[in-house]
């Protein structure tokens, strides 16, 4: 059964949310503070911290997850060293994946993080396959499969949900619905959204439960995903959880030729749709301060401790940036490694 969240666990969850937020802030700041250190694509998880942490808090040792290219948050919550993650994003030899993956392709299989796909929706079949392996092994493992709302328009999503439901695979499909496919809004590209229905409606087509949850509330996410995990673990098959989040940064950093400084543009609500009020409302509902306020109001978390958590996270991420900047770049010859196992 889903774990009851005591003060210690809630504080752990808050701590992970703060760590993810502070990490992403430092990735974003890298573009201005250390121009040229990151050249490729980065996609930030700010705004999705509650959804990520609420979901991961349901995992047991041995459980696994797969994700998309917006992937920094998961390993942070799983306990991967943030120094290694930042060094990977900076393309360093001592990065989590030796500089072969970068921001979009983090993986830490020892902690259950089976990797990502930069091709939208295409990690969904692999997560489904990991669920199949767990079913065959009969060791009671569950796989969390994270993807965005846009991925649910890929054939791989539909094929996988059909197959997982048919085979009753222990997979929980967590759709982080941030309402934007880069600069196209969901109601412009999703039939359910256009009809005013939740995207979890898609589960109906595959005869599995489909639930929509406030992805800004880690306790609600934990409860909803937890029920789905229980269902998966007991052999009753997959669930589609639509977790509604608001990403607080643009889809990704500006992409430009070498030499042109990169930065994070404003959110597409403003740049594409001219809707500054929508974005500012999202900021007012920011899940990280919202959870802090709730824990403090409920006397679960002492404000002094909350401040300390933030200071610790900032210190940790400062150290991660320093480590990553100082870390060596790979030798050019190393580029040829790992093509074949």
């Amino acid at each position: 059964m889903t774990e009851k969240l005591d003060a210690e666990r809630l504080t752990w969850m808050y701590t992970q949310m703060v760590r993810i937020r502070e990490f992403e802030e430092r990735v974003k700041r890298t573009f201005e503070e250390h121009p040229g250190v990151i050249r490729g694509h980065t996609h930030l998880a700010d705004g999705a911290e509650a959804s990520i942490v609420g979901s991961i808090a349901t995992m047991r040792p041995g459980d696994q997850l797969m994700a998309t290219y917006r992937c920094h948050g998961y390993p942070i919550a799983l306990g991967t060293d943030t120094k290694k993650i930042m060094a990977e994003i900076y393309g360093r030899k001592d990065g989590l994946c030796g500089g072969y993956g970068g921001s979009m392709h983090l993986a830490d299989p020892e902690r259950g993080f089976l990797g990502t796909s930069g091709i939208v929706g295409q990690s969904i079949p692999q997560a489904t396959g990991a669920g199949w392996a767990a079913q065959i092994r009969k060791e009671g493992q569950v796989v969390l499969c994270f993807f965005g709302d846009g991925a649910s328009k890929q054939g791989a999503f539909h094929e996988s949900l059909n197959l997982a439901s048919l085979w009753k695979l222990p997979v929980v499909y967590v759709m982080e619905n941030n309402n934007y496919n880069v600069s196209t809004r969901s109601d412009q590209e999703d039939a359910n959204a256009a009809a005013g229905e939740p995207l979890s409606t898609k589960a109906k087509a595959y005869s599995m439960p489909g639930v929509t949850v406030d992805g800004g509330d880690p306790v609600a996410v934990h409860e909803t995903v937890g029920e789905a995990v229980d269902r998966a673990r007991s052999g009753d098959g997959p669930t589609l959880v639509e977790s509604k989040v608001y990403r607080l940064s643009a889809h990704g950093n500006l992409i430009a030729p070498p030499g042109v400084p990169l930065h994070y543009p404003e959110h597409e609500a403003i740049t594409t749709f001219g809707n500054r009020e929508e974005y500012e409302a999202a900021l007012r509902g920011d899940p990280v301060p919202r959870f802090r306020m709730r824990l403090v109001e409920e006397d679960t978390l002492d404000p002094g401790r909350a401040d300390q958590i933030l200071r610790d996270a900032r210190e940790e991420m400062e150290a991660a940036v320093k480590y990553a900047l100082d870390a060596a770049l790979p030798e050019p010859e190393a580029a040829l490694n790992h093509v074949y196992a």
């Binding site: 990065g95 030796g98 796909s117 396959g129 392996a133 197959l163 490694n337």
Partner: protein, 344 residues
Amino acid sequence: MSEIETTFVKAVRDTLARAMRADERVIVLGEDVAEGGPYLLTEGLAEEFGRERVRNTPISEAAVCGVAVGAAQRGLRPVVEIMFIDFITLALDQLVNQAAKAHFMSGGQLCVPLVLRTQGGCGQRSGAQHSQSLEAWLTHVPGLKVVMPSSAADAAGLLASAIADPGPVVVVENKALYYRRETTAAEPEPIPLGRAHTLRRGEDVTIVATSRLVGDALEAAERLAREGIDAEVIDPRTLVPLDVETIAASVQRTGRAVVAHEAVTVGGFGAEITAQLQNAAFDFLEAPIQRVGAPFMPVPVSPPAEDAYRPGADEVCTAARFVIEWDQPEPAAAGPAAAQAGTG
């Protein structure tokens, strides 16, 4: 060593069964595999190993291939079947962007010990979407290995090595070879990937042929022998990794080469072999290397049209004669071989 009479499909099935008996991580999945599939290639596996390890799937090539990738990453040894190579378009993202890159992108942390079996080839009036030879697409992707057996014995030995390989291997069979009778070892040894097989020794011209064209090349060599041309026939067996040393050593000796496959000549893997041979044997070449392949068009259905389309022993003979006659006092005009080897 005891021998048995077998066919290509039986050899593949027996190899799968041996691998599944030896290692419970080996599983088979694909459309209709538990029922044997359209060629009855997996017939009997579900009865011996159960329907969990021999898993029928929905008609969802992307998900099926992706599920196999995910299961492989979690330590199973899936052998996934894509019924016709023509359908591999639907699974290409999982092969090209996922299976081929997981090990690399993770800095070596992830492994995908996956075998994808499929079959191509024309000659059965199956039309433009069930007859293609698309292996060249896969050879263009670093991270994938690509195997093309031309006999039952090689099919068994190469598949055994593919299953044991720590990375993704695509085995491209040819449906025209499926029911030919052949005598093989009862317990075939694994054949290492990346080792070419010289099937016939010869001094005048090297014919490099893949899959179905290997048999045609041997037939062509018999015909050429009656004309006094002594042809060597080499089957690379695996396209990636390619045993260019064996092929180049032969061409350095014969000075002439024909590269033959069933796929469309343009952009076919023969172009890669030809380019590598030019580098490895340029100073030894007495004639331009000739390619034999299909014309640049989809596979037609109607028997006379398909038969005209389908490259075989005739085209190999023509190409071999062309390279032999190249430095004769009056060289043949750039005739039929060049036309065949060009855009068809």
